[in-house]
């Protein structure tokens, strides 16, 4: 085990206690990157080589100079006896959907490939102020539009550290891959429909989508503004809690950031979960999707191993004294995806308007006097398939003559999904749940090329995660073992608004209870490659 494999809380402790220097931690992380990451994503990658296929390519930009400056600052503070911050010397990767001053902030799109941000996102500045080392900008699906990272304009796209023939998931796939592979101890991701939780499940790490508004969106390049949530990716509940505590809270730059006090999530971790009520819902053990020919809804149970994973976790929670409540109805779950398709695309199409070749980013090299032609060429040349599809659909469903039929209706569905959660979490209601336990994803990580291009199927992979985004409630995915291919399986806990402390408490209890399980001793293949790591 190298320094970079240590949990963030231990690293920060060791740095603060002068057992190691921030510079040494950084050296370890950069060394790991050089062993496992391969070349960073770029917009003119040439052919993907067999060597590329053995690496994880988590980064678009490795900001080693920035991290070095920060490490030196931490070490200087320690030398002077000043407080270096709670995350002193902890290497962190940042999904490249966040603006960080002086770095390329690309959203994994050609249209922003040359954009250097003049300002830093609130969540990132909070990490910096806490002494974290910003290692680099992690790859993602273009503008976060995807579940595999393959839609990134920056190739090679990230690969799964447990098996590089599989995707890391997405859209925060670079983030989760970097954390799983020990390149970064923590990563800042975003979750609009499952974009933290799904890749966390695929990569065997912990990923949390906090309550909407818990973490400021200022500096997050928007996808669907009413659904986007920045959140932590880490290897343990403890590290997740530590990171969330730093990034959460009210922000004068974001009026949708909640003015609710941030609890000390670390203090919540050690509580007993005895008597907590955890629900299981049949609506989360099946996937509903429209038949492309008839348009009628079809249902299909999630694979047995996924349901088994949830039931196994429920047993663990049961052993810890939680009450497991079966057959909790979540009747509007199947409509989450269609409603999401409409709402997110309306917001996305509007959010993408600003990329017009006028002020920053890509502009067509073609000379023209015609403004509209410049817009069309610029956007045609620099947006990938996913942004184009989303613009088309978003424009269509928000047009004056269709808006009522689609957008207004989708908003109604959204409030019905919220009501499902209100009902089960209502302390005076029938179920009085503290959390709902579900599979995070219908499957484990799929093979590279397996689904890309079939955007409907990829989106249906979000069916179990998107309801929490509609409802604004927090959800957390955590690893519980492996499938028969050796790929990680994640399960999800969803709680009421601002219940992050309790969710982290439950996951921490689960981790402690399963600490000695053999599956916990397995390390990602990428780290075990012979001769690659000393």
């Amino acid at each position: 085990m190298d320094l970079c494999d240590y949990p963030a809380y231990q690293l920060a402790g060791m740095v603060r206690q002068r057992e190691v220097s921030a510079n040494e931690v950084l050296d370890s992380a950069l060394k790991r990157i050089s062993f496992v990451d391969g070349r960073s994503g770029c917009i003119d990658p040439g052919d993907i080589t067999p060597e590329d296929k053995l690496k994880i390519h988590a980064f678009i930009t490795v900001t080693s100079d920035l991290a070095r400056t920060q490490a030196e600052a931490v070490d200087r503070k320690i030398a002077k006896g000043e407080d270096p911050g709670e995350l002193a010397g902890v290497p962190v990767s940042i999904k490249d959907i966040f603006c960080v001053r002086g770095t390329h902030s690309t959203a994994a799109s050609k249209i922003l490939a040359n954009f250097t941000s003049p300002y830093t996102a609130t969540s990132v500045s909070r990490l910096e102020e806490a002494g974290a080392l910003i290692l680099g900008k992690a790859n993602l699906d273009e503008f976060t539009y995807g579940s595999s990272n393959e839609s990134s304009a920056f190739q090679p796209s990230p690969r799964n550290p447990w098996n590089t023939n599989h995707v890391p998931g997405g859209s925060s796939g670079g983030s989760t891959a970097s954390v799983a592979a020990g390149e970064a101890a923590l990563s800042l991701g975003t979750d609009t429909a499952g974009s933290i939780r799904q890749p966390a499940a695929f990569c065997g790490v912990v990923g949390m989508k906090p309550t909407y508004g818990r973490v400021s969106r200022y500096g997050l390049i928007a996808f669907a503004s009413s659904l986007d949530c920045p959140g932590p990716v880490a290897r343990t509940a403890h590290d997740t809690a530590m990171m969330l505590k730093i990034i959460a809270g009210v922000d004068p730059h974001d009026s949708t950031a909640a003015n609710v006090p941030v609890e000390d999530y670390l203090l919540s971790l050690e509580r007993e979960i005895k008597g907590k009520r955890i629900g299981l819902s049949p609506d989360y053990f099946r996937i509903t999707f429209p038949d492309p020919i008839s348009g009628t809804f079809q249902q299909q149970p999630v694979p047995g191993e996924m349901e088994q994973a949830v039931r196994h976790s429920a047993e663990v929670f049961g052993r810890l004294g939680a009450q497991i409540i079966e057959d909790v109805p979540m009747p509007n779950t199947p409509y989450g995806i269609p409603a999401y398709f409409v709402i997110s695309r309306v917001e996305a199409a509007s959010n993408l308007h600003r990329y017009d070749g006028v002020k920053y980013g890509y502009r067509t090299p073609e000379k023209t006097d015609d403004l509209r032609h410049m817009y069309r060429r610029t956007r045609a040349e620099a947006f990938g398939l996913q942004p184009k599809l989303r613009i088309l659909m978003g424009m269509y469903v928000s047009a004056a003559q269709y808006s009522e039929q689609y957008y207004t209706r989708a908003l109604k569905v959204r409030s019905m999904i919220r009501q499902d959660f209100d009902a089960i979490f209502d302390p005076g209601g029938k179920y009085r749940l503290d959390a709902l336990l579900t599979p995070t994803t219908p499957t484990t990580a799929f093979r590279m090329d397996a689904l890309y291009g079939d955007s409907v199927l990829m989106q249906y992979a979000d069916q179990l995660t998107v309801p929490a985004n509609h409802a604004g409630v927090p959800g957390i995915s955590f690893p519980i073992g492996f499938d028969d291919q050796g790929l990680p399986i994640g399960v999800q806990l969803i709680g009421p608004d601002f219940s992050e402390g309790l969710l982290l408490n439950m996951v921490h209890a689960f981790e402690m209870e399963t600490k000695a399980d053999p599956w916990r001793q397995v390390r990602p293949t990428i780290i075990k490659l012979p001769g690659k790591q000393g």
Binding site: F98, C99, S105, A107, A121, H253, S255, S350, R354, V358
Partner: protein, 484 residues
């Protein structure tokens, strides 16, 4: 030949005079600043930025909404209006669409007759159909084959206020703008300078046969930068529409641009089908909640409105409409008048005369505001009282106003130190009169021969001899006696 009446609606954009912009901390007023100096990531629409609503802009909009008798929505929303234009950096404008801060509203507009004395000939009821908050876009300039964009104006807070099709002539439209400008300055919500674009106006114009009640196709006039130009442009457009209609042509829904240099309207474009702006709620801002406590706090700064004060001055101080109109043109002057009139407790019209003739002249000549005057209302009253009592004569009083402003001394001190008190001692005046007559025998002869107009000249000579301090009426009667 058919008689036509004009149907006019005005769409105004009012720039609120807040310190900072509506969604960021950049300075609002960039009139004297070079392009692209008051900008930041937020107002230039960089990736990842979010708007944060300036509460002061809301308060100013509330003041205006109340003054227009509009209903305030306790919960209103911001929406995105999506369109592409280089000076719109986000590709959408944050505005209010179907649930704006205010609903309805009106103003009863006194329309003066043509006497020029502000006598109200009738009152026109103007309905307000739209009053909402929004952000301004930037400015585009074409120069040297380039399109140049200045983002300074991006995010400047605006209220868009639209009237119903309730105005019936170019003069009424001009009156509306005059009263609106007066109100905006009165409330302190906008500098309302049309030349600087603080108040922008588009006019929708159509005509119909007098006595009918349907609406015909309208044209829209844009880019008019003064009230005079609005009047001129509307007049020209009404005449054009009458000519076209009489010639059997149909009026088409054109957008017309006012060419300031040549005072002509030019066709900008035919109005195609209504653009689809794909409005939807701005997800980056919360609903705007306006609680009663906030309204009450804002309204505690709401002054009496100009038209109400004008009417009250007529009733309470028995001023002619003309005086009331002028004295309420500016809020500061109206307050100055009222303070003086209350302190004087006599003929309001006399106070009005002093202010309209003397005070307004000083302000004009020195290009200062009422609150720059060292002469406060009580000082003015002191001067008027000295004149009333014959301590000084009225021309000394007028000169005194200037002297107070220059020396920053109190009127009574100046009278004393400069020995300005009127000479009322008849023997002194008698002696002066006799001396004047003695040294001007030719004039005396002419006067006695019947040239009575020379009396004014004799009075002037005596006043000069007494350094203006004699009471001219006493001088005149003494001279008349001596010349009998």
């Amino acid at each position: 030949m058919t008689d036509y009446e004009a149907i006019i609606g005005l769409e105004t954009h009012i720039q609120l005079n807040t310190q900072s912009k509506i969604f960021c901390a950049c300075k609002t007023d960039s009139w004297y600043d070079p392009p692209n100096t008051n900008i930041c990531p937020v107002c230039t629409g960089l990736p990842g930025v979010l708007p944060v609503l300036n509460q002061k802009a809301v308060e100013k909009a509330l003041l205006l909404a109340f003054a227009m008798q509009a209903e305030i929505r306790p919960v209103s929303y911001f929406d995105r209006k999506n369109y592409f234009y280089p000076d719109l950096p986000k590709g959408y404008q944050i505005t209010q669409y179907d649930m704006a801060i205010a609903k309805g509203g009106f103003i009863d507009l006194p329309i003066p007759d043509s006497s020029g004395l502000s006598t109200t000939s009738y009152v026109r009821h103007i309905g307000i159909t739209k009053l909402h908050l929004e952000e301004d876009a930037g400015k585009t300039k074409n120069a040297n084959d380039e399109r140049q964009i200045d983002f300074n104006r991006c995010g400047v807070p605006l209220v868009e206020m639209v009237t119903g099709p309730d105005l019936r002539s170019a003069d009424e439209a001009a009156q509306y703008l005059i009263r609106l400008r007066q109100l905006l300055r009165w409330l302190g919500v906008s500098e309302a300078d049309m030349e600087k674009g603080h108040l922008r106006c588009d006019a929708n114009v159509s005509i119909r046969p007098a006595g009918t009640d349907y609406l015909n196709t309208k044209t829209e006039i844009k880019n008019v930068n003064s009230i005079e130009a609005v009047r001129d442009a509307i007049d020209k457009e009404i005449n054009r529409q009458v000519r076209e209609t009489n010639a059997g042509h149909r009026i088409e829904a054109w957008t017309l641009e006012w060419d300031e240099d040549h005072s002509v309207l030019k066709k900008m474009r035919s109005k195609e089908t209504e653009a689809d702006y794909r409005y939807f709620r701005e997800p980056d801002l919360l609903a705007l909640q306006i609680e009663d406590a906030w309204i009450n706090e804002v309204l505690s700064f709401q002054p009496e409105l100009p038209l109400a004060r004008r009417q009250r001055f007529i009733n309470e101080y028995h001023l002619p409409e003309y005086d009331a109109d002028i004295l309420t043109n500016d809020r500061g002057i109206s307050e100055y008048f009222e303070a003086a009139a209350r302190s004087y407790q006599g003929d309001g019209k006399k106070v009005s005369n002093w202010i309209m003739n003397e005070i307004l002249r000083i302000l004009r000549e020195r290009n200062i505001q009422e609150n720059d005057l060292f002469l406060r209302p009580t000082d003015l009253v002191e001067i008027i009282r000295m004149v009333d009592k014959g301590v000084i004569n009225s021309s000394t009083g007028k000169a005194l106003i200037e002297k107070v402003q220059e020396t920053q001394m109190k009127p009574a001190e100046i009278v004393k130190s400069e020995n300005l008190a009127q000479v009322n001692d008849e023997s002194t005046i008698q002696a002066a009169c006799e001396e004047v007559l003695k040294s001007n025998p030719n004039e005396v002869a002419s006067y006695k021969a019947g040239k009575l107009t020379l009396m004014g000249w004799f009075v002037g000579q005596v006043m000069r001899k007494t350094q203006g301090k004699a009471d001219p009426s006493i001088v005149k009667s003494l001279l008349e006696n001596l010349l009998k």
